[in-house]
Each structure stands twice: as structure tokens, then as C-alpha cells.
């Protein structure tokens, strides 16, 4: 049975009607039209759906929307401020950290979680931090380079 919940996404409060079984990723995409959060697998592995829940990188396909009530949610759409891209978004562009772009929102959200607690990560720390994000086309070299570049931006 559907219930009404309040979700705070990118600083805006939304009231949505959801079934308890609705996954946060679906509600973000289908109810709130925030389609930057991608769904790439059915197994909690690919990380394309990564968002921030109270500042921590989280796979939104593995969280029920009802669990997220009361939390602060940030999606890829919430990173750019006043029309200016986030340093990570710029760095992915500059360093060719994407080709098809499907994994990019999740990669950037995971990287943002890393950079929030570690301002100058090593290559190894970057690779460990994006272990939960799969890229199937760009390859990880430029993604790591982009995150490293954003850290020093």
C-alpha cells in the first residue's frame, strides 16, 4: 500500500507517494525526474546509482525510499552550484574521464565522498574508493586521473 513520505533531495523537500518496496533509485528517477542517477545492474554491484545519503556515498538501488525519509539526499544534479560545474565534473571533462557517461554520475558521487574525507588521495586510495563503481568503456586510468586532478583543483 502506498504511503506519503517526505524526501529532502538537493536541499529541496518533496512529498511523494510510494510503496514500501519502492527503491530510492526508482523514486528519484520516476517520481522526482532526477534521471542523472542511473540504474545499471540488478545486483547492487555497478554503483551507477550512487548518491549521497547524509553525505555518504550510497547505492540508491539498495535503499528503500521509505528508509531515506529524514535523511539529506544529494544526487549528481545537486553538485553544480549556480550554473558552475563541481570541480569533479570539470575534471572528468578535462581529463576525458568518460566516454559513454553511464557510470559517470556514480563515479563522481563516490569520488566526492572520498575527497570529503581525504583531500589528496593516492592512486591506490582512489582505486579503493571507486571499487564499488564499474566502468565498462572508458577504463579506469582517466577516471583516476580526473579524481586526482579534482583533488588538487
Amino acid at each position: 500500500m502506498k504511503r506519503s513520505i517526505a524526501l529532502s533531495v538537493n536541499g529541496v523537500s518533496h512529498s511523494v507517494e510510494v510503496e514500501p518496496r519502492a527503491l530510492l533509485a526508482q523514486v528519484l528517477r520516476d517520481d522526482l525526474n532526477l534521471t542523472g542517477t542511473h540504474i545499471g545492474c540488478d545486483t547492487s554491484q555497478c554503483g551507477a546509482c550512487t548518491i549521497h545519503l547524509n553525505g555518504r556515498a550510497t547505492k540508491s538501488c539498495t535503499v528503500l525510499a521509505v528508509q531515506a525519509e529524514g535523511a539529506e539526499i544529494t544526487t549528481i544534479e545537486g553538485l553544480a552550484k549556480n550554473g558552475a560545474l563541481h570541480p569533479l565534473q570539470n575534471a572528468f571533462w578535462e581529463k576525458h574521464g568518460l566516454q559513454c557517461g553511464f557510470c559517470t554520475p556514480g563515479m563522481i558521487m563516490s569520488a566526492a565522498d572520498l575527497l570529503a574525507s581525504n583531500g589528496s588521495p593516492s592512486d591506490e586510495q582512489i582505486r579503493h574508493a571507486i571499487e564499488g563503481n564499474l566502468c565498462r568503456c572508458t577504463g579506469y586510468q582517466n577516471i583516476v586521473a580526473a579524481i586526482k586532478s579534482a583533488a588538487s583543483a
Partner: protein, 283 residues
């Protein structure tokens, strides 16, 4: 895939949770990173989820005294964010770094993982090696269960349907003990095909104590006998002999990732590696 329909109840306090638990078809939801994937595959179809994920009473790490008390709702991330915990029990930090990925560690909780009791999960072996005690509570009372008595089978524990895991009590580690976690993982999932947690003490060059726990090998994590290493200097031959029987009496899993023979071999390999590494850190 989307889980089958269920009813959802969010506990507002521990008392609230203990009142709501135990009714037919109710499953407890903490971080959800074991349960929700199973529900999406419809391997689990609980009629009702009791969400304890927001309960502050279940979170936190208390390091007063020489042991530790870890709230069941403490996330893996929070475990890793405690340098004091890592200093006292480096085994916990070493194993936790390899659990899932960042996103999983941000949400997954130590108590949730232990209560889920996946036969290949890492933390049960760590708890066995450290001699943990699990404190359980129900509406009617409380009791404590040693880690060695808690895991009763695949995805099965000593928890009664109306009981909640509240916290984990760890005794002070043996003085100057070395600890190590060695895992041979299935690459795609990261789950252990076989993994070992070891706590080793020594006097001068001689091993004086070994506690060894294995996971991924049988239907549950278990304490294995490696006492044959005591009295030796931990050279290859001595450790080889000491781990020869670590799967004795265990119904070793065979699956597409590892046959019974191969997994038994890996159990000995990770046991030897964990003891050797722990020994190198003892002193």
C-alpha cells in the same frame, strides 16, 4: 528487480522495536545491504520489515576499559573511522576494509551482517577469533551468547524470533598479540572462498598461543584447531603441519567457484598466511 510487497514499520526507539519484533513474517532491517539484495532477487519475501536503522541506541563504539563494546547498528564505515578501535583490534580494521565496497560499508552494519550470518561473510570469523560475546534482548529479558555458540548454520543464528542483537562485547586482546586476516576472495563478488582470522602470541621467538577462525569454508564460520603451532617458531614446516587439519569435521562447501578439494586446500593456505602474518606482528 523490485522486492515483493511488504509492510514497513520504522522503530522510533529500542523499546518500540522490541515490542514490534517477533510477529509472524517480520524481518529486521538495519543497513539492508544483505537483506535488500536478497529481497530483490525474491530469495527473501518477508511480509513485514521492522526498520531499526535509525536507532541511536544501537550505534557507537565504547572503548572504556581494556575491551570494547560495539553497538549492533554501527556501520562498517564507522568502525573504520575509529583509529582507537583499529589500534586495539587491528583485525577488525583489516577485515572491514575488504567488506563489500565503500557504498556497502557506508550502509552495512556489524550487527546486521552478523545476524544475517552469510557463510562467506568476514566478520563472523573476526568475532570468533577475538572471543566476542553477543548481547541479545527481547521484550522479556536479555541474554548473552558467545560468538562460538551464535552461528548455527547458513544464514542461521541463535537469535530467537523476538530477539534483537544489541551490542557486541569484546574482551581485552591478549597482551602484545599479533592479529591478521587473510582472505582468498571470489573476484566478482568479493566474498571469501576461504578466509582466516588469526590472533597469535609469542614469547621471544616461540609461539605461545594461536586462535584461528575460518569463514567461507563450511555452512558457518568456526574456530579451527591450530594449536600445533604452539611451541614452534612459526617456520613454514611447523605452520604447514599446524593447519593440516583445519577442515577436519567440517562439511566443506563445493560450488562453481571452488570444489571441496580446492576449497579445503585454500582453507589451509589462508590459515597459514593469517597465522604467519599475525606472528610477524606479535611482540
Amino acid at each position: 528487480m523490485i522486492p515483493a510487497s511488504f509492510d514497513y514499520v520504522r522503530a522510533k526507539s529500542l523499546r518500540d522495536a522490541l515490542n514490534a519484533i517477533g510477529t509472524d513474517g517480520t524481518k529486521v532491517l538495519a543497513g539492508g545491504h544483505s537483506l535488500i539484495p536478497m529481497m530483490r532477487f525474491r530469495l527473501a519475501q518477508p511480509g513485514r520489515l521492522l526498520d531499526i536503522g535509525q536507532l541511536a541506541e544501537l550505534k557507537g563504539i565504547d572503548l572504556k576499559g581494556r575491551g570494547a563494546r560495539i553497538g549492533a547498528g554501527t556501520s562498517y564505515r564507522e568502525l573504520l573511522d575509529s583509529p582507537e578501535l583499529a589500534e586495539r583490534y587491528p583485525l577488525i580494521a583489516e577485515a572491514t576494509r575488504g567488506i563489500g565496497d565503500v557504498q556497502v560499508r557506508n550502509r552495512g552494519t556489524i550487527g546486521g551482517g552478523l545476524a544475517h550470518a552469510d557463510p562467506a561473510s568476514d566478520m563472523p570469523a573476526v568475532m570468533l577469533a577475538l572471543g566476542a560475546t553477543f548481547n541479545l534482548r527481547s521484550k522479556g529479558g536479555k541474554r548473552s551468547v558467545a560468538a562460538a555458540d551464535f552461528f548455527t548454520g547458513a544464514f542461521t543464528t541463535a537469535l530467537a524470533s523476538d530477539e534483537l542483537l544489541i551490542d557486541i562485547a569484546l574482551p581485552a586482546p591478549p597482551k602484545k598479540a599479533g592479529m591478521a586476516y587473510a582472505s582468498f576472495e571470489q573476484k566478482a563478488s568479493g566474498y571469501a572462498i576461504a578466509a582466516a582470522a588469526a590472533v597469535v602470541t609469542k614469547s621471544r621467538k616461540t609461539i605461545t598461543g594461536v586462535t584461528l577462525a575460518l569463514t567461507g569454508v563450511g555452512d558457518r564460520a568456526y574456530l579451527a584447531d591450530a594449536s600445533g603451532a604452539v611451541g614452534s617458531h612459526g617456520d613454514d614446516a611447523a605452520l604447514e603441519a599446524a593447519v593440516a587439519n583445519v577442515t577436519k569435521g567440517i562439511d566443506v562447501n563445493g560450488d562453481i567457484h571452488a570444489s571441496v578439494e580446492y576449497r579445503s586446500h585454500l582453507a589451509r593456505v589462508v590459515a597459514r598466511r593469517a597465522i604467519a602474518l599475525a606472528l610477524s606482528r606479535a611482540g
